[in-house]
């Protein structure tokens, strides 16, 4: 049933949006229905909860690991708030139906309203702190949507953002506080938490918890110094203001104070923080309210002030004060909601909310006038009205408070002052609007009473004010008792709900406040002048300004850290490496290990010198790019010779072949790119780069030396032993590539294939203009395809193919293999492009190499897949030695097929890449592949 109560508005939130097509009335009904049902459910709980003071609970597990559960409780306090939420909610819906303009999308409005209603219900009925936070944040979101309802108004957007930012921040703080509490208590279950108040207060983190929670509370309830968002939330439609910013959302804060009162209250810290915030808010709100010209503004500030009052009461740390607080919550909700609606009616009928443009309205809306007057009297705390009672209580506890040490007399004084102010602004609300003479503009507007059902809610609330005010014990006694006892977790203090307590200090204070207020209003003009003389920065402007500065600062910091220069990014990446290397060099025990050095000879020295010199030359001559290219190919040549010398013929072959293709590649690119670079790096950059390169180079060199001279046993012995018996090949390197680690090779050729496909896509419709002159400004030579080159390249092709086949076949047993063979083939074919041009070649071979690449990888992959048929893992190899007459003994190995796949891939990929680059200069249209 508790679930139902929360779920109804939650799910019902969809309803209005859905029935929107059916017209405004049905929208309103659809909105009212879930609320009404929930209300009935609540009412049905009254006998038990209010009558017997029972506590209804319901719970479902959600995230036990985090202590989050869908747990609800309905005790007196929850019931009271639920009543406010649902009761006033219903009235607001009724009112809103008439308030909203025909053009406004009512569906959206009521959906948000119901969503908010559900969230509030969740907050007040949550029996799990984390769940409470969940709903708490939901109220922020839905109120953001409601405030920003008229999204085309800048004020609405700003107000909404400001509200969301503050309440959102509060919510985060609350979350942190709640988690801290939960971790201290060891549970997020509300009951447990309320029981273990002493443990919480004793905990070293209590101050932190308290401040976090209070931050949440104060932001939500617009307590000083966070009050400024509330008035600007008034740009919301009046029903919203009436609902959120008088009756409910802002009460969520004080609700939490009440809820956690047993767990957190009772310490000096609590008193200082809560009561001083409350007191400040009380006075500030009352003062500001007096000077508002906007009706809703006035009400908003008075709301702030009353919330301050409630907060102050909770802060006083006496159970009586807590009771008073709860009582005032009830009263304030009733009169403030009715006043908001009255203001809405006035706005609706006159088209303005500016007090200065209003007056004498009693002639046009007599009934509304009466209602508003009564309600404001309640607000002012005039006897026989509910406001009076709670104010009396307030004064009573204020006089009894012994805190603030020597300043204990301060509280009552300020209380009276606040009371006086509230009388003053109430008076202003009534007198300036309904009495005095009518401004001509207004008269022209011909205001009249609103439709009955728009006024009815106000009437209901005002009647409540009276009833409670006159017969408190009857109409509010049980409710107050239940709520208060729930707040105090059982123990109720002694208090009496009577209009007359005899002549005592509180009564005197009331009288003083009453007449003081009247005087204040009478002589308000100097006060207005005084007020006007103060600087009044508008909160949204300040807020936006701060926000903009913050964003600007953030942007600046980001720009400062990330300046968008790749050079710096790479430097950042390499800096740790350099540092590591320096550390390694420093900590290196012995560079030369026990392993004997292999003998050096002149030739080796010579090769090393050649390589080093060429590498350095590459760096120095990098700006003369062709020369740099030649230099780097010298390095490549030497590297392959080194591989050869150090018993790695396969590497040497591969390196040599790749070398040639790379040169072709770079030549192709160099045609388009500028051939001379410019000097740009600053000297600081250069020194930084030198530091990085030298330290990393030295480090890597020394590490290599260290590793080479410190032998260790590796898994390689296995490969050497199993190459022939297990892999059927004598060339262990090749067997590793196609068998032991064939999976790597499959990935490797896939990389090649992807690169080819990617480059193809990358260079699609890339229009580069062709240089007409060479770097020295010379026209290019006339002859496109020199005769000798053409003929020889044709002669080379078949030979190269033959050699490729030879290298491919022997690869398994001798240096060679698919990759080298593929490169040889590719080079021979690219040579055809070079010698005869694209058109000539593409007239002779299919010019789309994608299928070739794909089929290559496919062949290798399928070879691997075949083993699955025999339920062997992917890539399990097999081989056998056949004996044919005449041919003799020869070997067939699945690995060879795999290598063939490698071969095809390499041929295809290399051709795809180089031909694509070559075609860049060939003007022709081809459809995208």
């Amino acid at each position: 049933m508790l679930f139902a109560m929360v779920a109804l508005p939650l799910l019902g939130a969809l309803l209005p949006r859905l029935v929107q097509p059916l017209g405004r009335r049905s929208v309103a009904v659809a909105a009212a229905l879930p609320a009404l049902l929930a209300f009935l459910l609540l009412a049905s709980a009254a006998p038990a909860v209010i009558g017997e003071g029972a506590v209804w609970k319901a719970s479902l597990p959600w995230l036990p690991q985090a202590g989050l559960a869908l747990a609800f409780r309905l005790d007196g306090l929850a019931w009271l708030f639920a009543l406010l939420i649902l009761g006033i909610g219903l009235l607001v819906i009724l009112y809103g139906h008439y308030y909203l303009d025909k053009r406004d999308p009512g569906g959206r409005f009521f959906s948000f309203l119901l969503l908010f209603m559900a969230a509030m219900l969740g907050v007040v009925t949550a029996d799990n702190l984390l769940l409470l936070v969940v709903f708490w944040e939901l109220t922020s979101i839905s109120s953001f949507l409601l405030i920003g309802y008229w999204s085309d108004q800048s004020a609405a957007r700003k107000g909404a953002r400001m509200a969301l930012t503050l309440t959102g921040a509060g919510g985060l703080a609350l979350l942190a506080g709640v988690i801290l509490i939960g971790q201290t208590v060891g549970s997020y279950d509300l009951g447990t938490v309320l029981e273990s108040g002493d443990r919480i207060r004793a905990d070293s983190l209590y101050p932190l918890m308290l401040s976090l929670v209070l931050f949440g509370v104060f932001t939500k309830s617009a307590q000083f110094p966070f009050q400024f968002w509330l008035p600007h939330a008034m740009s919301a439609p009046t029903p919203v203001s009436a609902y959120l910013h008088s009756a409910t959302m802002v009460k969520a804060g004080v609700f939490l104070l009440a809820r956690l009162y047993p767990a957190l209250a009772g310490t000096d810290l609590w008193f200082v923080l809560v009561s001083s915030a409350g007191l400040a808010t009380l006075l500030f709100g009352a003062w500001m309210a007096l000077f508002r010209h906007d009706l809703k503004g006035l009400l908003a500030y008075s709301t702030i002030s009353h919330l301050g009052l409630i907060t102050l009461l909770f802060g006083l740390n006496t159970s009586l004060a807590a009771v008073a607080a709860v009582f005032h919550i009830i009263n304030h909700a009733t009169f403030k909601a009715s006043l908001f609606m009255a203001a809405g009616i006035i706005d609706h009928e006159t088209g303005t909310r500016d007090i200065r443009r209003l007056g004498g309205l009693r002639r046009y809306l007599p009934v509304t006038a009466v209602l508003a007057t009564v309600a404001s009297m309640a607000m002012a705390g005039v006897p026989l009205l509910n406001g009076f009672l709670s104010k009396e209580m307030f004064f009573a506890v204020a006089t009894e408070t012994s805190l603030y040490g020597s300043l204990h007399w301060l509280v009552p004084i300020l209380a009276v002052l606040a009371g006086g102010l509230s009388v003053a602004y109430s008076l202003r609300f009534v007198h300036d609007v309904f009495f005095g003479e009518v401004p001509p503009a207004l008269a022209a507007h011909h205001p009249h009473e609103p439709p009955y059902f728009m006024r009815a809610p106000v009437e209901v609330l005002v009647v409540l004010c009276l009833l409670v005010g006159i017969f408190p014990a009857v109409f509010v006694g049980p409710l107050l008792a239940a709520a208060a006892s729930a707040t105090l977790n059982g123990s109720l203090p002694e208090y009496s709900l009577a209009i007359w307590h005899g002549f005592n200090l509180p009564l005197l204070m009331s009288v003083v406040a009453l007449f003081g207020g009247i005087l204040l209003y009478r002589f308000r003009t100097p006060l207005f002048a005084l007020q006007r003389s103060w600087p009044r920065p508008s909160a949204p402007q300040v807020f936006e300004h701060c926000l903009q500065n913050m964003i600007g600062a953030a942007g600046a910091v980001v720009k400062w850290i990330d300046n968008g220069a790749l050079q710096r990014y790479v430097a950042w990446l390499l800096l740790p490496v350099a540092l590591m290397m320096l550390a390694a060099i420093a900590s290196m025990p012995d560079w030369l290990g026990e392993r004997a050095l292999t003998p050096v000879d002149g030739l080796a020295v010579l090769a090393a010198v050649l390589a080093v010199v060429s590498a350095v030359a590459t760096v120095l001559l990098r700006r003369r790019r062709l020369i740099a290219l030649l230099m780097i190919s010298v390095v490549g040549l030497v590297v392959s010779l080194v591989f050869l010398r150090l018993s790695a013929p396969d590497l040497a072959l591969t390196q040599l072949a790749v070398e040639v293709v790379t040169v072709l590649l770079l030549m192709l690119a160099m045609y388009f790119l500028p051939t001379r670079g410019t000097i740009e790096s600053s000297s600081w950059d250069v020194s930084r780069d030198l530091f990085l390169s030298i330290s990393i180079g030295a480090g890597m060199g020394l590490l290599a030396l260290f590793a080479m001279t410190h032998p260790g046993d590796t898994i390689s012995a296995f490969f050497i032993d199993n190459s022939v018996p297990g892999g059927g090949g004598k060339n262990v390197v090749n067997v590793i590539l196609v068998d032991f680690r064939g999976f790597d090779t499959l990935g490797e050729i896939t990389v090649l294939a992807i690169a080819a496909a990617g480059i193809y896509a990358l260079l699609e419709n890339l229009g580069l203009c062709l240089p007409l002159y060479d770097p020295d400004g010379r026209r290019w030579a006339r002859e496109r395809h020199p005769l000798v080159l053409r003929v020889i390249s044709q002669a080379v092709l078949p030979i190269a193919l033959l050699v490729a086949m030879y290298i491919l076949l022997r690869g398994h047993n001798l240096p060679g293999g698919g990759f080298i063979a593929g490169l040889v083939t590719a080079v021979a074919l690219v040579l055809q492009y070079v010698a005869n041009g694209v058109h000539w070649v593409h007239a002779r071979v299919p010019n789309n190499y994608h299928p070739l690449v794909a089929s290559g990888v496919l062949l290798s992959a399928l070879t691997g897949l075949a083993s699955l048929l025999f339920d062997h893992p992917f890539l399990t190899s097999t081989f056998s030695h056949l004996h044919w007459p005449l041919v003799g003994e020869f070997e067939l190995a699945s690995a060879m097929l795999f290598d063939l796949g490698v071969y095809l891939t390499v041929v295809g990929a290399t051709l795809l890449i180089l031909a694509r680059l070559g075609k860049l200069s060939v003007v022709e249209h081809e459809e995208s592949y």
């Binding site: 390499l574 080093v612 390095v635 010398r645 590497l651 790379t662 690119a669 790119l673 060199g701 060339n731």
Partner: protein, 115 residues
């Protein structure tokens, strides 16, 4: 021999790193090429050095560690693919913003060099 190889690795790595830190795409490509040479030598040297001991069964009694060789082969292929892609990307960048600056800055570029 180890010392010589170490020196080569050091030199190639250093030069490669320095070139990678340049401002134009072409030197960067050269730098990565140099660096991959260095990496290959380095990876290869991790199998320790042996002369006249190719990892071919029956060709010699001693065999150099074949695993790093296989790894280097894979590395060479992948390196080639990557160099090719980067080169193509450099062309694309040159075509897109008429500058071979690695950040695509078009200032300080003499006009007739624009594509």
């Amino acid at each position: 021999m180890e010392i010589l190889l170490a020196i080569m690795i050091a030199a190639l790595t250093g030069c490669g790193v320095y070139l990678i830190l340049r401002l134009r795409t072409f030197p960067v490509v050269l730098g990565l090429t140099l660096l991959s040479y260095a990496v290959n030598l380095f990876l290869f040297s991790m199998g320790r050095l042996l002369e006249n001991a190719p990892a071919v069964i029956g060709a010699s009694e001693l065999h150099a560690d074949p695993l790093p060789q296989a790894l280097v082969l894979t590395a060479i292929v992948i390196g080639f693919a990557m160099t090719a892609f980067l080169m193509a990307l450099a062309l694309r960048a040159w075509g897109e913003f008429g500058s071979d600056h690695i950040d695509g800055r078009t200032d300080e570029l003499d006009p007739e060099q624009r594509p």
